[in-house]
């Protein structure tokens, strides 16, 4: 299986969600109200980048005042720093085409949503995510910090314009991939050890784990659901568990499947109910079990309370795991993936331009415990 399929990457870059954007009724000052506007939202793009296309359509009807643009889907304010494709995959259990969104130019809910000051906010959110990914992969973000202003500008512009070739040309200099089958980061023809920046001595031995940037979004839907269209819409972000945590791969593990990668992020899901985990984990400052370490390679142990509705996932947002819950579906870049697919292929071909792999997980849960904190 080839390392990196240009066809697949192109598929991701060209992916777009047809959006039908409605102006919120409270901001309509003219009769008849303006019709919604149809725009294509690039999967790897961000909603605020569409504002220059959307605003002219509505500007004649807006009430006076300064703009603070935000979007909502069925009342849920949308997080502008999450790529459009991920929002769509996560919030539309059954894909809705076109995807009906509401745009607001006033009344930004600053208590729940970080404000966006236009393209600059999005650009810097992107650069900071790229830095984080570089740090995860290499152990430092020097390659990003050392980018020239011109390169940074070009990289960002290539994303805004959806120009894959320009992006690949500039980003290849960053030495962030692709990931080999042995889970070592490759750069061109030479093998780059994880956490080895160019010019630095090789600190890594073969046992050093490889870290891969992943952002996981977990949503609970009813186990008995036959039709995804009937899934209860998300009305609050607390219903989604967000896990921003790298996948660690030890070289000895060999070829990793998507399922194995998921196990490292959501270990409880793969534990048998009857299995009592050996790791002791304490939340009260008691003695920590011998197996744990200070790194994030620790596995969270202990189904201490198997009857509990909520199994705390220490150090992360609470993942709402219920008895007998299991993964119903995994969606990445709009594709429902088979769990046996090689993880390295998924990472290389389906990651976003900031080098994070965004994974939407739909958990099937029993319907009488569907309320979530």
């Amino acid at each position: 299986m080839e390392l990196c399929s240009e066809e697949a990457v192109k598929y991701v870059w060209e992916g777009a969600i047809p959006l039908q954007i409605h102006l919120h009724e409270s901001e309509v000052t003219t009769l008849p109200p303006p019709p919604p506007i149809l725009v294509l939202g690039s999967r790897i793009g961000y909603l605020p980048l569409l504002v220059p296309l959307i605003k002219p359509h509505f500007s004649s009807t807006l009430p006076p005042g300064t703009d603070s643009v935000w979007f909502d889907y069925k009342g849920l304010p949308l997080k502008w720093y999450i790529p459009i494709g991920v929002l769509f995959d996560l919030l539309c259990a059954e894909p809705e085409r076109p995807w009906n969104l509401t745009v607001h130019f006033r009344g930004h809910p600053g208590d729940v949503l970080t404000p966006c000051e236009g393209e600059d906010s999005v650009k810097w959110s992107y650069i900071n995510s790229l830095k984080e990914a570089a740090y995860i992969i290499n152990g430092n973000c020097k390659n990003i910090m050392n980018m020239s202003q011109a390169d940074q500008f070009e990289l960002w512009q290539s994303l805004v314009k959806g120009n894959m070739d320009d992006f690949l040309r500039i980003s290849s200099r960053l030495k962030l991939g692709p990931l080999g089958e042995d889970c070592m980061v490759r750069s061109g023809s030479s093998l780059v050890q994880p956490r080895q920046a160019i010019g630095e001595p090789d600190f890594t031995g073969s046992g050093r784990p490889c870290r891969i940037p992943v952002r996981l979004y977990v949503r609970n839907i009813s186990e008995d659901l036959d039709d995804l269209e009937d899934a209860v819409p998300i009305d609050c972000w607390d219903r989604i568990s967000y896990i921003n945590r790298p996948v660690e791969i030890h070289k000895e593990e060999g070829r990793l499947s998507l399922k194995c990668a998921m196990k490292t992020l959501l270990p409880e899901i793969f534990l048998e109910e009857s299995l009592v985990n050996n790791h002791e984990f304490s939340r009260e400052g008691e003695t920590v079990g011998a197996d744990s370490s200070y790194g994030d390679s620790e596995t969270i142990g202990g189904l201490r309370n198997a009857q509990a509705e909520e199994i705390p996932f220490p150090g992360q947002a609470h993942v709402q795991l219920l008895k007998k819950s299991k993964i119903k579906m995994i969606r990445i870049q709009g594709i429902e993936l088979d769990m046996d697919i090689p993880f390295f292929w998924v990472v290389n071909n389906l990651k976003n331009p900031e080098y994070f792999l965004h994974i939407c997980v739909f958990m099937g849960t029993s319907s009488d415990q569907s309320t979530i904190r």
Binding site: K79, V112, N140, Y242, N244, G285, V288, Y294, Q316
Partner: protein
């Protein structure tokens, strides 16, 4: 790192209250460990710039027991209140500071208000690197917009501070957090009482 956070706090999850007056900066209250995995230091009263006394490095007078009457006297509309949370970043494998401020009436502080409370050196950095030093991000657990100091350099300067590679289980790790806080705290004007460094749990 997460275990470290649990280890520096006693079993009941609360640290003893420590209050000390200071010329400017923060009056320390108490630390609380939240089970999801973060440390909170809340309701810290930051006297606004207009209230601050002249910079005074002499703290000997301030080790006396704190007089509540003094606290009432200095309470006024200018007082800003801050919450600080220390959250572990799995990506950077270091602690990260999240904070937010509000006025006495509960109104959240805007970035420009917070900037006025920052020590001068931090303000300079903030002005130079608006998007990469101190930004508004979603709090990993509370899921609301909080301010945060970017952690990408933390690992490097912690290595300098603690000298050499960090041993994973040596007693020095117990001081990791107070060492970290002694640097990061200065960035936001948070004074750490000396007792925090002396106490060995």
């Amino acid at each position: 790192m997460l275990h470290l956070m649990q280890m520096i706090l006693p079993r009941n999850g609360r640290r003893s209250t420590q209050i000390f007056p200071s010329g400017h900066g923060f009056l320390v209250r108490e630390w609380v460990f939240h089970a999801e995995g973060y440390l909170a230091l809340e309701n810290m009263n930051q006297l606004s710039a207009s209230e601050a006394l002249t910079d005074d490095e002499n703290y000997s007078a301030e080790e006396e027991p704190f007089d509540n009457a003094t606290l009432v006297q200095s309470y006024n509309d200018d007082m800003h209140i801050y919450d600080f949370h220390i959250v572990y970043s799995f990506s950077y494998r270091v602690p990260v500071l999240y904070f937010r401020g509000y006025r006495c009436d509960g109104h959240p502080l805007l970035l420009c208000d917070i900037e006025r409370d920052l020590p001068p050196y931090s303000l300079k950095i903030q002005n130079e690197s608006k998007w990469t030093f101190m930004t508004q991000e979603e709090h990993p657990y509370l899921r609301r917009p909080w301010y945060t100091l970017h952690p990408c350099g933390t690992s490097d300067w912690m290595k300098l501070l603690l000298g050499g590679d960090l041993p994973s289980k040596s007693p020095d790790m117990l001081h990791y957090l107070s060492a970290w806080l002694s640097v990061v705290g200065q960035t936001v004007g948070l004074r750490i009482p000396l007792e925090l460094h002396d106490k060995s749990i």
